[in-house]
Structures are given as structure tokens and as C-alpha cells.
Symmetry: C2
Subunit: 206 residues, 2 copies
DNA sequence: TCGGACATGTAAGATGTTACATGATTCG
DNA sequence: CGAATCATGTAACATCTTACATGTCCGA
């Protein structure tokens, strides 16, 4: 897949490895991620296979960079990929959800502060998605790229709402766990835990 | 991560590799995926490292199976994982979205049928998520597992809605490409000549 | 002159995919 | 009897992560 993403961007015009790294971090962060090490090695591999070509470019006042262009074989590969069935869609892998899924039980487990941090990170992601305009591409006449960003924004908003509900729920059912640790078993819901605004969770035991 | 998911399920009780494979395919398909080959090799690795133990179990009338149980070291590893910060959340990787992102431009590109197939697959996924009740786990007193499924359902619903809009949009702006070409196109600033339309685009009705 | 952005790489190891392989039991 | 489901594996390969490594240029 990374191959195709790199070829996809190179179809817009010549790009350096660094350019592509920045594009992945910004323009397409909502559907893919790669470390720079992987980007550079993948570019070299694509070049060895003749899908792209590179030349060194020493711009005045700038460090030397290696600029890649799409070769004919690369354009063909991209075409082939685009003709592939769109199905067999990405099996989702969400480590944060996995953590929540298996967070259960622990008596004094401090899941809540973690969830709040997660929510805040997701809010940042949403702001970032809203702030940065899509980079317009001539090869995207139907505005598919901005539309995928709109989708990503909607997913972020949904995620934040879900986290809100989850946090509210845990606050009401588990507030006492944060004050008195070390108790396990049937902890039934106390009628009045605290106000809707809980104090910050400190570690009571030493 | 797969390590932790397997340990997480083994914390509920003894399970065979096959059990875990089924759990991944059903119970946790909404946040993770693994092939059986990876599951079996990972279990062997976890056993070599002393995190889990296994014994062969030849049930009458059934093929022999190898049943794993969580060892003390495994329980510790799970605890450590649960204490890790929840952040640095899964960098999203969505191949379908990548395909749509880079689908642009091609004059007679048949994206629409593919999108319809994708939507239908997502609808199946949603039905599946609704149909199958969450497997109740004693180690999940706060119902976090069903709640992550509820989240996954909401994401599916959102995805389907987005695909609906996208399809509608492409139908209206690109209808003339599929029909006889008589319709005037509006909206886009793209002066598209209706010239280079190939007759058939792949669906082999003879 | 120091830190941050620019810019590019290598290497080891972990993780994940695809293909190959085997064999039992159950149901129609 | 054949297909589906149960059940477990190996091997080759591709992909991805983490750490190490090296420099330049620009502004404060």
C-alpha cells in the first residue's frame, strides 16, 4: 500500500522523500502513516524496480535532495491498482480500542484519566483536520481528497462523542473507586458519588 | 498488540488457538485482525517466554486441541500493558480510503460500482455487528466490551452515510459519463469533453 | 552558537501475509 | 462420498518499527 500512496503522490508531480514524508504527515495522515525510514527505503526499492526515477537536486541555499518522478512502469502499476476491486477493506486495527476492550475488572484501575487524555488527543486531531486545508490536486477533479478528510473529521467527532459518553458513564458508576482503592467485589452504585465534576485522580496510597 | 489481545482473552479462562481465532473473527473483529498462522505462532512464542502454558486435550469425539492458560508472568505482562498510557493511538490505516483518495482524474474510471460494493460490504458488517450479541465476560464489569462494539456500530453507520453521499455526488456530477452522454454537466469547473469515453468498462455482459 | 527544521539514509528485529500442508469429524 | 467445520501447524516473504547515524541551513 505505501508503494501505491507514494506513486499516487508522484503522479501529481516530482517529489522528494522529504516532501512525501510531509505529505503523509499532513495531507494523508487521516488514512495512512509511515516512518521516514520506511519511506526512503520504499522509494529506493521502487526505483530499483523501475517504477520511479530519481535525480539529485542541489538547490541554491538548500541541502541536496533527491527528487523522484514517476516512470511509465510506475504509472502502469498505479493504473492496475486503481482497477483492483475496492473491497477486502482494511481490517481495522485500533490499539486504543483494544486497551479499552480489555481494561475491565481491575479494582483501582485508573482508566478515566487515560480516557480523558485520549479524548483530548482526539480533539487536537480534529482541530488539526479542520485547521489545515486540503492541498488541492489537479489530479482530483471530483474533490475526492477533501471528501475523505470530511469523513475523517466526522469519525473524529463521533469518537469524541463516544468518549464523552464513556467517561460520563464511568464517572457515575465508578467514582468511589478512585477515592478508596483496594476494595474489590460487589461495589454497587452509591446513590450520590460526587458532583458531576470529579476531582483529579491522585494516588492515595504510599 | 496481538500478544496482549491473546493474553487478554486468556485472562477470561483457558482457550485453544482455535477458540482465540474465532474470538478474533467475531468478538473483537471491530478492533483487530490476525490470521490463524500468526495466532498459532504467537501462542508458541508466548509459551516459550513463559507467559502462558499449554496442555494437549483430546476430547472424545473431537480432534485433539492444545489449550492455553495464562501463567503468572502473563498476568503481570497484561497488568503492565494496562498501566501503559493509552495515547499514541493507532495511526489509522485505511486502504479503501487510500484508494478513494487517489482515485481521481481517470476519465472513465469506474469508481461508482466499486463504491456501491464497498457500501454493501459495510452494511453487511453493520448487520453482523448488530446481529451478534457481545460475548459477556465476567472480567468486564463495566461493560466496556459491548461499549466498544456500540462505537464500532456507530462508525459503520457513519461510513455508510458518507458512502451514500459520495455515491450520490458522483452520480450527479458524472452521470453523463455512464449514460449516452447527452446530459449537460454542471457544477464542476472542469470543461470535460465527452469525447474519450470507452464503450465498456469491464463488466462482461456479452 | 545552539536548536529546530531540512534532508537522507542503514540495520536489526518485530510483526503480519500468503501459501503450503495435514488430518479428524459431522452432516447431508 | 464430499463438503464444511474443526484444529494445528511451517516457511517464505513483505512490511513496519525502532534505533542509530550524519550532515546542512536558518534564525534567535
Amino acid at each position: 500500500m505505501l508503494d501505491m500512496i507514494l506513486l499516487g503522490y508522484l503522479a501529481d508531480g516530482p517529489r522528494s522523500g522529504y516532501d512525501l514524508k510531509l505529505l503523509l504527515e499532513t495531507d494523508s495522515a487521516h488514512f495512512w502513516h509511515a516512518h521516514h525510514s520506511q519511506i526512503y527505503t520504499t522509494l529506493r526499492r521502487l526505483e530499483r524496480r523501475g517504477l520511479i526515477r530519481s535525480r539529485k537536486q542541489a538547490a541554491r541555499g538548500l541541502q541536496e535532495r533527491r527528487v523522484y518522478t514517476l516512470a511509465a512502469a510506475g504509472r502502469d502499476a498505479l493504473e492496475t491498482w486503481r482497477d483492483l476491486p475496492l473491497l477486502a477493506a482494511a481490517p481495522p486495527k485500533d490499539t486504543a480500542l483494544a486497551r479499552i476492550f480489555f481494561a475491565g475488572s481491575q479494582p483501582a484501575r485508573d482508566l478515566l484519566p487515560e480516557l480523558r487524555r485520549l479524548r483530548s488527543a482526539r480533539r487536537d486531531r480534529l482541530t488539526e483536520l479542520k485547521r489545515r486545508p486540503s492541498i488541492p490536486a489537479p489530479s482530483d477533479p471530483d474533490d475526492l481528497r477533501p471528501l475523505t478528510r470530511a469523513y475523517a473529521r466526522a469519525v473524529e467527532a463521533l469518537t469524541i462523542r463516544w468518549l464523552d459518553e464513556l467517561i460520563a458513564r464511568l464517572e457515575s458508576t465508578g467514582a468511589r473507586l478512585e477515592s478508596t482503592g483496594a476494595r474489590r467485589g460487589q461495589t454497587k452504585t452509591k446513590p450520590r458519588p460526587t458532583a458531576t465534576r470529579p476531582k483529579r485522580a491522585g494516588q492515595g496510597r504510599s
